[in-house]
């Protein structure tokens, strides 16, 4: 597509339930990133996929968080047994290739509210 697409745009879930957040990157972009942005805060790195390499999971805050990227395209971020502190905007970004010169293109995010 023309940009990075994320769905749903908003998600309200009950504490303890599992949620799946989807990211559809720009076609041809080999790198994909997930970030978390709490209210009024900066961007917290979660996980990074680059081509067929093993993902960099160093930013995942707990084992309740996982992500996969199927076929080098769409990615799903899964949060199990959601907690109220998981409430945030989850941003996905993709980039054309290896090297910071490509920058990132961000989606509009999924606003997750855990009640």
């Amino acid at each position: 597509g023309a940009g990075v697409s994320q769905s749903p745009s908003n998600k309200v879930t009950e504490k303890g339930k599992d949620v799946e957040l989807r990211c559809d990157p720009i076609s041809g972009h080999t790198a994909l990133y997930w970030y978390r942005q709490s209210l009024g805060q900066g961007l917290e790195f979660l996980i990074y996929f680059q081509g067929n390499s093993a993902p960099d999971k160093s930013g995942l805050p707990s084992d309740r968080f996982s992500a996969e990227r199927t076929g080098g395209s769409v990615s799903t971020l899964t949060i199990q047994r959601t907690q109220q502190e998981d409430s945030a905007v989850y941003l996905c970004a993709s980039s054309l290739g290896v090297g910071v010169k490509y920058g990132y293109t961000f989606g509009s995010g999924t606003r997750l509210t855990v009640v």
Partner: protein, 113 residues
């Protein structure tokens, strides 16, 4: 680990004035810097970038200044408009770290009419 711009301060400016948003970075090995603009309800959008072999780069109404001696980055917006109201993030990276950017905490710019 290394960090960039830990604060989320707010800058309030009058419409038509110039704005200067600052960012401190700590990784002296960083060789590429980007400013992003995030409007309410949207993801961050690329504004302008600069490489470490440059001190200044100009775009349309925006200028980025890089001072490697004190590891400081600034974004200047000329004739600030209401549409410039947003949170601005700086980001740094180095090709030695693959394609990873480190983001600062952001600055909220509020433009008063």
């Amino acid at each position: 680990g290394e960090s960039v711009g830990l604060h989320l301060p707010t800058l309030s400016v009058q419409e038509g004035d110039n704005s200067i948003i600052n960012c401190a970075y700590s990784n002296s090995a960083s060789d590429y810097f980007i400013w992003y603009k995030q409007e309410s309800g949207k993801g961050p959008q690329f504004i302008i970038d600069i490489r470490s072999n440059m001190d200044k780069r100009q775009g349309q109404r925006v200028t980025v200044l890089l001072n490697k001696t004190v590891k400081h980055l600034s974004l200047q917006i000329a004739a600030t408009q209401p549409g410039d109201s947003a949170v601005y993030f700086c980001a740094e990276g180095t090709n030695n770290a693959g394609n990873m950017l480190t983001f600062g905490g952001g600055t909220r710019l509020m433009v008063k009419p």
